[in-house]
C-alpha cells in the first residue's frame, strides 16, 4: 500500500495553480478543501475568465499574467499545479527548472516523471516535474498494471469516453499528446510491448459519465481471478478518488474487458466529470505528500 495520508500541523504548502478551465477550477477547490495546502496564487490568461472569478470568490490572489506571474512572485511556490496545455507545460518546466518548485503536470506533455498513485506512490525520485499522464491513464493504469503483474498479458488497450461539455479547447487540441502519453505510460507500467489508447468525446445529453474500458488479451484468463484483482485495485484507487468503480468485467476466451467509471467528488464539477476528478485527486495527493515531506525535512512555508 503506497497511498497514505499525512496531515502535519502548522506547515502548509504554498501552491499555485496555472490554468483556469474546468481542471484549474476544480484544483483550486480541492486545494481549498485540503488541510495541508494553501492556495497562494491562481493564474490564467484571460482577466474575465470564470476560473479567475471562482478563485477570487474563494479569496485567493489571482493574475491574468500567465507564467510570468508565477515567475514574478516574491518567494517561490512549493508546488505549481499546471492545468494548461502540453506545449505550454514544456515551456513552464524550462522556466522553472532551476527553482525549488515541484511542478505537477496535468497536461499530456510526457516530459516529467510519471506518477500513478496506487502504482508508483507519489514520491518523486528524480526531477521535480511530476507527470500525471492523462485522465484515461489514471483510470486505466491501476487495472492494467495489476493485470500485468498477475497474468501473462499479450496486448493492452484503453478506450476512454469523456463528456463533450467538459472537454475544453486544450484537451481537444492535445488529443495526439493524450494518445501518445497514455500509450507510453501503459507500456512503461506493464511491460506489455503492444498497447493502444483511444479517446472518444461524447455529446450525449444528459452527459455521459467518464468511463474507461481496459481491453486485454490474456491467454487462459480465469474470470474469477481477474475479477478479484480488479476489485482489489479499484478499492485502492477509491482511497483517493472515491467515485471510482468497476461497471463491467467480462471475459470471453482470452479477451478481457474491464470498464471503470468515475463519478466526480467535487464542489465545482458536475458528477459526470470523473475524468477531471481522478487526475486532479491524484495531483492533490502528490501535493499533500510533498507537503508532508517538506514538513518532515523542516522546510516549507509556515502559515
Amino acid at each position: 500500500m503506497t497511498v497514505t495520508q499525512s496531515t502535519p500541523t502548522g506547515l502548509r504548502n504554498r501552491v499555485a495553480v496555472i490554468g483556469t478551465g474546468a481542471i484549474g477550477q476544480d484544483l483550486v477547490s480541492k486545494v481549498h478543501r485540503s488541510p495541508v495546502l494553501d492556495c497562494a496564487l491562481v493564474v490564467g490568461r484571460n482577466p474575465d475568465s470564470a476560473g479567475l472569478a471562482h478563485a477570487a470568490r474563494l479569496g485567493y490572489p489571482t493574475s491574468a499574467g500567465g507564467i510570468d506571474a508565477v515567475l514574478a512572485a516574491d518567494q517561490p511556490f512549493d508546488v505549481l499545479l499546471d492545468a494548461t496545455s502540453a506545449a505550454a507545460h514544456v515551456e513552464h518546466w524550462r522556466l522553472l527548472a532551476d527553482t525549488p518548485t515541484l511542478l505537477v503536470d496535468l497536461t499530456p506533455s510526457k516530459i516529467g516523471q510519471m506518477v500513478v498513485p496506487t502504482v508508483t506512490g507519489t514520491a518523486r525520485s528524480t526531477g521535480r516535474d511530476v507527470s500525471l499522464i492523462s485522465c484515461g491513464g489514471q483510470a486505466s493504469i491501476p487495472v492494467a498494471h495489476a493485470l500485468a503483474e498477475r497474468f501473462a498479458v499479450r496486448y493492452l488497450e484503453v478506450v476512454s469516453t469523456v463528456a463533450s461539455t467538459i472537454a475544453g479547447r486544450a484537451t481537444r487540441l492535445n488529443l495526439d499528446e493524450y494518445v501518445a502519453t497514455t500509450q507510453h505510460a501503459l507500456t512503461t507500467f506493464t511491460d506489455v510491448a503492444e498497447t493502444k489508447a483511444i479517446l472518444n468525446i461524447s455529446p450525449a445529453v444528459p452527459p455521459a459519465t467518464f468511463r474507461t474500458a481496459v481491453h486485454a488479451v490474456i491467454p487462459g484468463a480465469d474470470p474469477d481471478a481477474i475479477r478479484s484483482v480488479v476489485d482489489s485495485v479499484a478499492a485502492r484507487v477509491r482511497e483517493f478518488a472515491p467515485g471510482y468503480r468497476v461497471i463491467a468485467c467480462a471475459v470471453t476466451g482470452e479477451r478481457v474487458v474491464v470498464s471503470v467509471e468515475v463519478i466526480a467528488d467535487s464542489d465545482v464539477l458536475p458528477h459526470y466529470a470523473g475524468n477531471l476528478d481522478i487526475i486532479n485527486s491524484a495531483a492533490i495527493l502528490v501535493a499533500e505528500q510533498h507537503a508532508a515531506r517538506l514538513s518532515a525535512a523542516g522546510t516549507g512555508v509556515r502559515s
Binding site: Y155, V159, D176, V179, K196, N200, I247, S259
Partner: protein, 348 residues
C-alpha cells in the same frame, strides 16, 4: 439544382460535375471485421482505377491508426494497405480517413508520405473542434484535407451548417455529412445539405448508408441540394445494410443530370470483382440493420452486438434501441458490454 424535372436536367448540356469517392476498401472493412488482404486491396484498387473512379479510399474501417480490440484489429497494417493501393492506382487519387483520438498527426504524416491525395478527418457531428489541429496540420502541409460530420442525424440542419463552417475555418477544403446510422430520408438530406451548401464556399460531401433502403435516393437528394462529392461503395460494401451502392449510384446520378466521368462497364466490372473477392455476400438490409437505422446507432456495431447478444440470450434489437437511447456514438463499442449485461439482468 432542386425542383427541376429529371428529364429536363438529364438532357441539359450544362450538367453539373459530381466527384465520386469510393471508400469500398475503407468503410467496406466493417463488413469483414477489417480483414481485407493485400490481393483484395490491390485487385479492387486496379479495377476502380480502370473505371476512372476519381478517389479510392483505403484503410481500417475506422481509419488510420484505428486497428484495435474496441472495433476490430486489421489483418493488414496501415503501411501495407497504403503502399499496396498507392501502387495500384494510376489515375485515381488515393484517399484516407482519420478520427482524432483514434489516429494522430503521426498517422497523417505517414499517409502523406505514402502518397495519400485526399485526407478526411471524421468527427462526431457536433464536435468539429476535434478536427481543428489536424485540419490545420493538413493545411500547413498543403494537403487536400476534408472534414466529415458523422452520425449527422443527431444534429439539426442549422447546427450542421454552423459546424461545417467551423471546419472550413480550420482549413477544410471540403466538408460534409455521413449518415452513419442510415437514419435519413431524402428530405432530411436535402434540408441539411442545402443548409451546409449555403453556409460554406467549398465542395460539400455526402456519404450515405442503406439501413432504410434510402442510400441512393438520399445521395441523389444530396447532389440536387448542392453536394458535389458523393460516396459510394461497390455492391454497397459496408457495415450493416451497407453504404450507397456505387454501381447504382453512378448511372442514377448520370440520368439525373450529373456528370461523374466514370466508365460504366469498368465500374460494373469493379463491382463484380468486389462481390467475388472482397465479401462473403453483398450486404442486405437485414433485421438488425433496419433496427440500427431506426435507433440511430452506427451500423458498425452490428457484429459486436450480435456476438454479445448471442452469448447472453438478449434480443439484439433491444440492444440497438438501448444504445440509441444512450446516444452512443461511433467508437463507443465498449458500451455494448454494459447494455447487454443490463438487459440480460432485466430479462433473467
Amino acid at each position: 439544382m432542386t425542383g427541376v424535372a429529371h428529364d429536363a436536367v438529364a438532357h441539359d448540356a450544362v450538367a453539373r460535375d459530381v466527384v465520386v469517392h469510393d471508400p469500398t476498401l475503407r468503410d467496406g472493412q466493417h463488413a469483414v471485421r477489417h480483414q481485407l488482404g493485400v490481393a483484395a486491396l490491390r485487385g479492387y484498387a486496379e479495377a476502380a482505377d480502370a473505371a476512372g473512379v476519381p478517389v479510392v479510399e483505403v484503410g481500417h474501417g475506422n481509419g488510420l491508426g484505428a486497428s484495435s480490440m474496441q472495433v476490430g484489429r486489421a489483418a493488414v497494417s496501415d503501411d501495407l494497405m497504403l503502399a499496396t493501393v498507392r501502387e495500384a492506382l494510376r489515375r485515381s487519387k488515393m484517399g484516407v480517413f482519420m478520427l482524432p483520438g483514434w489516429g494522430t498527426s503521426a498517422d497523417l504524416r505517414k499517409a502523406i508520405a505514402h502518397g495519400a491525395d485526399v485526407i478526411r478527418i471524421g468527427v462526431h457531428c457536433t464536435e468539429p473542434s476535434l478536427a481543428e489541429r489536424h485540419l490545420g496540420f493538413l493545411a500547413e502541409q498543403g494537403a487536400d484535407g476534408h472534414c466529415v460530420l458523422m452520425m449527422s442525424h443527431m444534429a439539426t440542419a442549422a447546427q450542421l451548417a454552423e459546424h461545417a463552417a467551423t471546419a472550413v475555418g480550420y482549413g477544410a477544403r471540403a466538408v460534409g455529412l455521413m449518415d452513419s446510422a442510415g437514419n435519413f430520408l431524402p428530405q432530411d438530406v436535402s434540408d441539411r445539405i442545402g443548409a451546409i451548401a449555403a453556409a460554406v464556399d467549398v465542395p460539400v460531401i455526402f456519404h450515405g448508408h442503406n439501413n432504410l433502403g434510402m442510400a441512393v435516393a438520399n445521395s441523389v437528394a444530396a447532389a440536387q441540394a448542392g453536394a458535389t462529392i458523393i460516396d459510394g461503395c461497390a455492391r454497397g460494401f459496408g457495415a450493416g445494410a451497407g453504404n450507397t451502392q456505387l454501381e447504382v449510384l453512378v448511372p442514377v446520378l448520370e440520368r439525373t443530370g450529373f456528370r461523374t466521368g466514370i466508365d460504366l462497364y469498368g465500374l460494373l466490372d469493379a463491382a463484380d470483382f468486389a462481390e467475388r473477392e472482397l465479401m462473403p455476400a453483398p450486404p442486405v438490409t437485414d433485421t438488425v440493420s433496419i433496427v440500427s437505422g431506426l435507433a440511430g446507432v452506427f451500423s458498425g456495431f452490428k457484429h459486436q452486438v450480435l456476438d454479445a447478444s448471442r452469448r447472453s440470450g438478449v434480443d439484439p434489437r433491444d440492444v440497438f434501441f438501448e444504445l440509441g437511447r444512450r446516444q452512443a456514438i461511433a467508437g463507443q463499442e465498449d458500451l455494448i458490454v454494459d447494455v447487454v449485461a443490463e438487459l440480460g439482468q432485466v430479462a433473467s
